[in-house]
């Protein structure tokens, strides 16, 4: 019995060794008749050798060589890292950056510096980083490499011409989402909580609460918001973007107060709230943030997403690379807002049939009024510090 197992394992290992052995030096040793002088150079040429050696001296090099560095959440965070990388690959697909952009995931704080160095060593001319924690490393390296362009996904305290900071007036779309939520709620209570009291998180909660207040003002209703107070500019935070149990407890606490539309802000901390809603079997909805949650989040939650407040990180990253490619790139703070299409509302998706058509038309009208500047929903200060 065990002997058999070991034999199988041995065979597996030997097979594996065979594979690696091929990898090590003689690529052709497996099946195909080896081309006569098959050593290292000849057969490789077709695919692998070309992109690696390209430098900015080549004639094609009008286009930026992009390098993307994530923060600790990694590129599969279903949030701003994922969107930032999408922005880079979109730019490549649209011909604004050279093929094979480099992706470097940071696993620890001490990875930022060597990851930036790795980008520079690979000849990157435009480095995109995500998250505030990389700020200091970017500051140091951007100052030392004035020829390289940097796109920084968040606000920072840079005073450098070669760094573009992407900031978002997300409260504009949150305002419209709040208006919608106030119209959808049956209990008259909307809940919200955030991962941490960062401005990039609070701005969603603040905008949503103002939207609810606007609805109350228009309709003479008294829809309540739990978890954010516009007056004190403070609200409920879990203190973690990763502690799912805590997120669930927080969500349950707000559901206990009869909330039936929830806006949890911060990575995947909205999913435990979805679990809570499903477990209770109540008729409640979630509002997503960043990327359209209906598509970005796991399938079992699809019926829950009322709408997503979209933060077009990908759009602004692509635009930054486009500007670089077209030679009109500028550093400094760049605000994405409703007017330039970098902030917006997703379609209703699964809630299409459940939302009153008139309410949806009103919501869109409110958003349009924000775009046109008739309603000033951009209350929260964004931009370089």
């Amino acid at each position: 019995m065990t002997k058999k197992l070991f034999t199988i394992l041995s065979i597996l290992v030997v097979a594996a060794m065979f594979l690696t052995a091929c990898g090590a030096d003689e690529p052709a040793a497996t099946d195909v008749p080896p081309p006569p002088p098959a050593d290292t150079d000849v057969p490789v040429v077709e695919d692998t050798a070309v992109p690696e050696e390209e430098t900015e001296e080549e004639p094609v090099a009008e286009l930026p060589i992009a390098c993307f560095i994530t923060d600790l959440a990694g590129v599969d965070d279903m949030s701003f890292n994922a969107l930032g990388w999408k922005g880079v690959t979109d730019a490549v697909a649209a011909g604004y950056a050279q093929a094979d952009p480099i992706l470097l995931e940071s696993q620890a704080m001490e990875d930022y510096q060597p990851n930036i160095e790795a980008c520079l060593n690979e000849g990157a001319t435009h480095i995109v980083t995500s998250g505030w924690a990389i700020e200091e490393a970017v500051k140091i390296n951007a100052a030392a490499n004035p020829d390289v362009k940097w796109t920084f996904i968040d606000a920072g305290g840079f005073e450098l011409d070669n760094v573009r900071e992407l900031v978002y007036q997300t409260d504009e779309a949150s305002f419209a989402a709040g208006y919608l939520a106030a119209g959808v709620t049956k209990t008259g209570v909307i809940g919200t909580y955030g991962g941490a009291p960062y401005p990039t998180v609070s701005i969603f909660m603040d905008g949503m609460a103002r939207g609810v207040a606007y609805y109350n003002e228009m309709k003479g209703t008294d829809v309540q918001v739990i978890g954010w107070s516009v007056e004190t500019a403070d609200g409920q935070f879990t203190g973690s973007f990763t502690d799912m149990a805590l997120a669930r407890t927080t969500c349950e606490g707000i559901l206990d107060e009869a909330a039936d539309v929830m806006l949890p802000v911060g990575g995947a901390i909205n999913l435990p709230c979805g679990d809570a809603i499903i477990a209770r079997g109540i008729d409640a909805a979630l509002i997503g943030v960043d990327a359209d949650a209906y598509f970005a989040m796991p399938e079992q939650y699809q019926d829950l997403w009322l709408i997503t407040i979209e933060k077009g990180i990908d759009i602004q990253v692509t635009r930054s690379l486009q500007a670089d490619a077209e030679g009109n790139w500028l550093g400094g703070g760049t605000v994405g807002n409703a007017a330039n299409g970098a902030v917006g509302l997703s379609p209703l998706n699964s809630w299409e049939d459940k939302v009153d058509a008139e309410l949806w038309a009103e919501t869109q009208a409110v958003f349009q009024a924000i775009v046109d500047g008739e309603i000033d929903a951009a209350v929260y200060a964004v931009g370089p510090e």
């Binding site: 690696t20 497996t30 510096q113 490393a137 500051k139 973690s240």
Partner: protein, 407 residues
């Protein structure tokens, strides 16, 4: 206890007519010849892990998999090329240049310190899962000294490290104390203390005592020049005196475990706490002491993370996953300081090389983690490795890892 019982316990599996260690190194550290053979299984485990890793690289190469259907040989060749490219990048990234080597050593530094912390616990039968929390507390203690005492470097740095030692020792000592007094299992308490430490740090970084002025995000003020670890190989390489401290710590732990009477008692408790108690040892206080030492070592690693590298400013993530990697390290090093040194170098190399693998071979970093995990799997199952390579088991091999639950 006399000196003779001490040497007996050093090598409980050896037969009596044993040559005393001859050279000075062996006499100081208590390490003798057996260690070369003890490298065999870890080395083979590494080899098998690399082979399986290669299979992973090959099987995740979608381009090659697609080609496999049309042109089997060509697909295989493409896969093999991918594997070759990946491992070449891994190797050159870690050892191929002075920079690569320095990054390997840089990454190995905190791993070595925490690995020693965990290994020390293992020797006494304690499973210290709390190295991360001890790092965090030690690091914050060092950060406080760095930020709030205005001293010249030659006294500022030792003082900051001392603060880290005390902070880490206290944090580790709590678990030891809880175990000694109430019998609470250290696995539970250290894990819980990790959470407490993390959220404490997250909070502390938002108060003006630590937070950078004018910031809303939880990020610390910059460590002043006088408290920054000097770089050993010049400004281009990140290796700092932290490495020297870590090596000194390894020598100290060797001495502590194999040449001091405390170390003898630690190991005795690890082998059999009941017998140790009957032999007159104060097992309770030993448990606190071991956790204190263990926490102190992790605390120094925390100081290294705070004072050791640019931009000399930290977020609550400064301990990363080092405290957990350390468990793997201690297992790989078979809880022996020398083994831990090698294991730290290996993990450091995987870290430095993993980056090169991402950058030039475009292979996700996750794969490096897979290889690390595979190494642990094969280390944890030495019988499997022996069976694969037909290595005869030694007559009697005892590597006391830790006591089970309620031990």
């Amino acid at each position: 206890m006399t000196e003779s019982t001490d040497t007996n316990l050093t090598n409980p599996e050896k037969s009596p007519p044993e040559k005393p260690p001859s050279n000075l190194f062996a006499r100081i550290t208590g390490i003798n010849t057996g260690w070369i053979r003890s490298l065999l299984i870890p080395t083979l485990a590494l080899l098998v892990a690399l082979i399986f890793g290669a299979v992973f690289v090959a099987l995740t190469d979608l381009e090659a998999l697609a080609l496999l259907k049309e042109d089997f040989g060509g697909g295989l060749r493409l896969m093999a090329e991918g594997v070759g490219l990946a491992y070449k990048a891994l190797f050159t990234g870690a050892f191929g240049s002075v920079y690569g080597l320095s990054e390997t050593l840089f990454a190995a530094t905190p791993l070595l310190l925490t690995g020693l912390a965990v290994a020390l616990g293992f020797r006494a039968g304690l499973f210290n899962i709390g190295a991360n929390g001890q790092m965090l507390i030690g690091g914050m203690a060092a950060l406080w000294v760095a930020l709030h005492l205005n001293l010249p470097g030659f006294i500022h740095i030792p003082l900051a490290i001392l603060a880290a030692i005390i902070g880490g020792a206290l944090w580790g000592g709590i678990s030891g104390l809880l175990k000694a007094i109430t019998g609470a299992h250290e696995v539970i308490t250290t894990i819980m203390l990790n959470f407490i430490a993390f959220f404490l740090v997250e909070y502390l970084l938002t108060v003006p005592v630590f937070q950078e002025a004018g910031k809303i995000n939880p990020i610390s003020e910059f460590v002043p020049l006088s408290a920054r670890f000097p770089q050993v190989f010049g400004a281009d390489y990140r290796v700092s005196i932290g490495l020297l401290i870590a090596v000194a710590a390894a020598i100290f732990v060797s001495w502590l475990l194999f040449r001091s009477s405390w170390g003898f008692e630690f190991r005795a408790v690890g082998f059999n706490p009941t017998a140790s108690r009957f032999a007159g040892m104060k097992v309770q206080s030993l448990l606190v002491l071991v956790m204190g030492f263990s926490g102190a070592l992790a605390g120094i690693a925390g100081a290294n993370q705070v004072l050791g590298f640019s931009p000399y400013q930290v977020t609550s993530a400064f301990a990363g996953t080092i405290g957990f990697d350390a468990i793997a390290l201690a297992l790989l090093g078979q809880s022996h300081p020398v083994g831990v040194v090698w294991a730290a170098l290996l993990f450091g190399a995987l870290k430095a090389g993993g980056r090169a693998m991402q950058a030039s071979a475009q292979i996700p970093l996750d794969l490096v983690v897979v290889i690390q995990a595979l190494i642990i799997v094969f280390i944890a199952a030495p019988e499997l490795v022996r069976a694969i390579f037909r290595v005869k088991p030694p007559e009697k091999e005892k590597t006391q890892i830790t006591k089970g639950w309620g031990g």
